[in-house]
Assembly symmetry: C2
Homo-oligomer: 176 residues x 2
DNA sequence: TATTGTTATACTCTATAACTATA
DNA sequence: TATAGTTATAGAGTATAACAATA
């Protein structure tokens, strides 16, 4: 039962149950690990996500990819420029819309992705080392459900009215 | 059974099982919602985390807070400057170390945090709307376990050797 | 010598605006 | 008129380096 906390005693913090804090800790750790694995790949972790779509999904347009990855379409242009230069993906004309470019992987891209995924899988398991196999599966499944749910609802982008006065005289003076 | 996907049909994507993608989707959605709730709070979501620690934990130094939140100590200085200016927290001298400043909340800070937490709780439930109550609890618990585990192991920061050649002639030409 | 906190500076990353070409 | 993609530019956010005070 419970989590086995290593010998190094860390003073208790009240953020353990905080969704934002736990997500932040995990996401930062993931990025750090994924950055290391994808150090030589243009675009790093996001380059790998693009490559994954290009290899395994029906060809998408640049804007569709941008929305799926949660980046601006201008950023997607830069990311794809580098992936194309590295010979990992290609921009193909869309027969049904001459404005659009469909992104597809090259053979080289497929090989690189296989290599990356293998090592990333190991790093991820290490990242989730605090959980047993069953818990890891449950976490992955739950995350998939939430992300799928959010991704499906996103287009409408309903952030219902939440901005209200909290009694703070705010004046962000510093750049951070 | 399973997740109820809304009417809007989204083309299938191969990232559903991708830890990085699911984390990214959830974390971005969380930040978007939390940004709205904390729009008037200096530092936004991170300001709220600082406030939480200042209210509920034993007083911490600025550097301890910075490490806990995963930000640079210089950023923490800016964040605290604004929170102090807004009258939400105070910098108190540390009796045991005259270099250090202990961060404690003011009465105003406590009141503001109560207000924020109430509304943030609602927003979070909306965010996890794709899961039933039981699943939400399980997700929160699993995230807490992983984050605690990672946070405890972090000090050593062991990103074991993962950088190796993947056969990509990389040259990031563009700024992104 | 190392650490805490501060400040100024430089850098990275992202978003904005303007443009072309298609629809 | 609206959208896909590109490019240049400005902005936000971050880290780096230097410093003073203290350990």
């Amino acid at each position: 039962m419970g989590v086995s906390v290593p010998a190094t005693s860390v003073p208790p913090n009240s953020l353990g149950g905080d969704l934002g804090w736990t997500l932040g800790v995990l996401f930062r750790a993931y990025l750090k690990a994924a950055d290391a694995v994808t150090a030589e790949l243009p675009g790093g972790p996001r380059g790998r996500q693009i490559l994954t779509c290009a290899v395994r999904d029906e060809p998408r347009s640049q804007s569709a990819l941008a929305q799926l990855l949660g980046v601006d379409r201008t950023v997607m242009t830069y990311l794809l420029d580098d992936l194309v230069d590295a010979g990992l993906v290609e921009r193909r004309p869309d027969p049904s819309d001459r404005r659009s470019r469909l992104i597809v992987a090259t053979e080289h891209g497929r090989a690189v992705l296989d290599n990356l995924d293998h090592r990333l899988g190991q790093v991820e398991e290490h990242l989730l080392g605090g959980l047993d196999d069953d818990e890891r599966d449950r976490l992955r499944t739950l995350l998939q459900h939430v992300a799928t749910s959010i991704n499906a609802a996103d287009p409408v982008s309903d952030t219902c009215e939440v901005v209200q006065d909290i009694g703070v005289t705010s004046a962000r003076k510093h750049p951070y």
